[in-house]
Subunit: 434 residues, 2 copies
């Protein structure tokens, strides 16, 4: 006998978990589709060399092995590298700008002790081949629509721009080679606080003259978007690089607001760094204040997506939804959502009535209801009602010999316990409005 | 530079392919859900010992490797063994009878030269923990609803029963140890014809007295369900085992017909064998005559799903939809289906109008339309129209300076080429009925 068990970091999801997971996937899928993004599906297994050299230190977390044909293969670590690979491989079939979304599993041999999963879903949307700020703005609108559909109306997009960050560093006379050190230090602010960042700046030997300015930045609180841009222009506008970044971010914001994003949902957060080497323009992280500082989505603009596979580089902008984070948070803080669970259980009273009951079920399915006939057959009534209860099925229809004779059926509301008798030929009409 | 390529037997699916694939997945998912099946998601990776010893000869096709933690792991080969594992592992959380469906990828290191994919989707629905013929009948109803939704109304369920097959063998005095040999020979009928089966029976040393009866069976053509059952009862009814099988299959058929399955869709096919060791009761294979003999779905009743993981055996009945076969066939024989592709492209005329255009797009999305603003920004009109054409977007909305002044917008039907001008404040109403 083999013990039934799953690998650490891997999980089964039973129907009770899947209702919320599917609702989240459906919500993002329909959001992406309502903006015209098309789905992409890429293999779980790739040639190892497609993935290697793309993830720095993290590369050691890739599941790699040699297959039966002596090929070195690897399990998908994220959906971004396969996107880059696919865009180059199918460049003659793809129409650019290419708007694609992908919702799929990825695998990382990470430490489950830190609460990390080894198998989890990613949920990404990207626009490849456009440099227009319209594309950046649209990504913000996608987030807006998705979050509002989930009822998370008070979400905040923390928005910054790599060009502005760079220009600030320059204006503070921080030499180029220290920029990444400063970014790394700032990036830890949430975890180590201002004192921690100050220490990091020392350790990383960032020129001391700039420390005060950097620490001031960490205290950034201004929420009025216009005031922020005016401040930035006054302070850094004489640098053409800074002005470019400011103009770009102002335009992105303007277009997002024109698409009905509420200004209260956007916070120009000058200490947001996000992804050290990858992003080149606008960057953002989405939080929901009642859930704390956990990022529920993040992304930005990048320039070198395809550089590993092609000399022809393609610019892009995109968002990754933190699917598993969102799932865990909404499990803890339940929301109301349309479950795809069965709505009606038909109780099979006796073997003689099973055919009639099956027929009634078919009629109710034909009007779009999710209907189960108790799958054990004509078992004890109490057992069938307990089943409806256990599965949280809201309505039970009982069809016994008396009902059959009278051409009626009994409807029981499992929440209130109330029962009523309905004429068989009125059942479909009656149930269609329930 | 790394060459952008996929492993043999693995494929990318671009949006143009995904519309049909998603439609098929959605159709089966909603069909399963309308009968009250709940989704199950199991890991792609399992402990190797969960999968080994379950697939006979085919076991060599399992992708196996040793992970970083020195664990022997394997990629999911099908969804049935993980279902058995999950049912035993979560037996205290699951309410039986357990109706679950699963649509997911599986991996087999098969020969791509034979047209076999190494990564493909399976799409299964099962009822675990019920011996009632109602469960068997429901599986047939699920197939009926799914096939009809796909417009494949003239599908045929080839239906047989292992009990009847066994009883026939016994009545022909074929010793028990030859039954499996006979089944193997019959199972090859489609490929090798009657002469081939005759030869197989010789080679397998099946007692010659029975050959004629077996070969007669291969010629089975009677389509009238009642006549078949009457014939069977007359011929084999004196054997209690045969009578059990006949009664069971008659009841399954009766209940399926009561649920509005058309008798023309059911063919009691006495030479259907299907899965040598696994099935124990009703078995079936679904074909669509215009597509030839390819099975588009198959399944039946089994008794020993959980035997590898538990002493407590659970009976079940289920169906596997041949997702990839269905996809390939419907790609060759296109059907009409609701695509989730963008419906409207908003043409951005100039940078000054981008904000207005974004606003109009948001209003159209709010009434449920799938709307793209041309993601490249305000590029040449001809380029934007070509994009709509390439992506087969049926409607284009053009908002230029003249339209802005007149508070109107131009609607272009890309199929007919016709244009009309619409007042801006009437646009949402107008588009809602398109």
């Amino acid at each position: 006998m083999i013990e039934a068990r799953t690998l650490q970091g891997f999980s089964d999801f039973l129907p009770e978990d899947m209702y919320l997971r599917q609702y989240l996937m459906d919500t993002w899928r329909h959001t992406f589709e309502s903006f015209g993004y098309g789905a992409l599906d890429t293999p779980a297994l790739e040639y190892e060399d497609i993935l290697m050299g793309k993830y720095g230190e993290e590369e050691k977390l890739i599941y790699r092995f040699t297959d039966n044909g002596d090929r070195k293969v690897a399990l998908r670590y994220d959906q971004t590298v396969p996107l880059a690979r696919a865009v180059v491989q199918h460049q003659n079939d793809i129409k650019f700008p290419f708007k694609r979304y992908q919702i799929g599993k990825v695998w990382r041999a990470d430490s489950p002790r830190k609460g990390r999963k080894r198998e989890f879903y990613q949920c990404d949307a990207d626009i490849i081949g456009s440099v227009s700020p319209l594309a950046d703005a649209e990504i913000l609108c996608v987030i807006d629509q998705g979050m509002k559909t989930l009822g998370l109306d008070d979400y905040v997009i923390n928005l910054n721009h790599r060009g502005i960050l760079e220009a600030m560093m320059n204006s503070w006379d921080i030499p180029e080679q220290f920029h990444i050190e400063v970014f790394r230090a700032i990036d830890k602010f949430d975890k180590i606080g201002a004192d921690g960042v100050a220490k990091e700046l020392m350790t990383r030997k960032v020129p001391p003259d700039a420390h005060k300015k950097i620490l001031e930045l960490l205290d950034w609180k201004e929420t009025d978007i216009d005031k922020v841009f005016n401040f930035l222009e006054k302070k850094f506008g004489n640098s053409p690089a800074a002005q470019n970044g400011i103009t770009n971010l102002r335009r992105i914001t303007e277009l997002a607001l024109a698409s009905k994003v509420d200004p209260e949902n956007i916070f120009i957060n000058l200490n947001l760094v996000r992804g050290l080497d990858y992003y080149t323009g606008g960057v953002f992280e989405v939080t929901v204040p009642v859930f704390g500082r956990t990022a529920l989505a993040a992304g930005g603009r990048y320039d070198k997506l395809t550089q590993a596979f092609s000399n022809h580089n393609l610019p892009g902008v995109g968002v990754g939804i933190g699917f598993e984070t969102l799932y865990e948070l909404l499990k803890e803080h339940p929301i109301t959502f349309p479950k795809t669970a069965p709505e009606i259980l038909l109780v099979a009273f006796s073997n003689e009535l099973l055919a009639d009951v099956s027929n009634i079920a078919a009629e109710l399915r034909a009007i779009g209801k999710r209907v189960m006939v108790y799958p054990g057959g004509a078992e004890k009534m109490s057992k069938q009602l307990k089943y409806a209860n256990d599965l949280k099925i809201p309505y039970v229809l009982i069809f016994g010999p008396d009902e059959a004779k009278a051409k009626k059926i009994q409807l029981k509301n499992m929440e209130t316990g109330e029962s009523q008798t309905i004429k068989l030929d009125e059942l479909v009409n009656k149930m269609s409005v329930i």
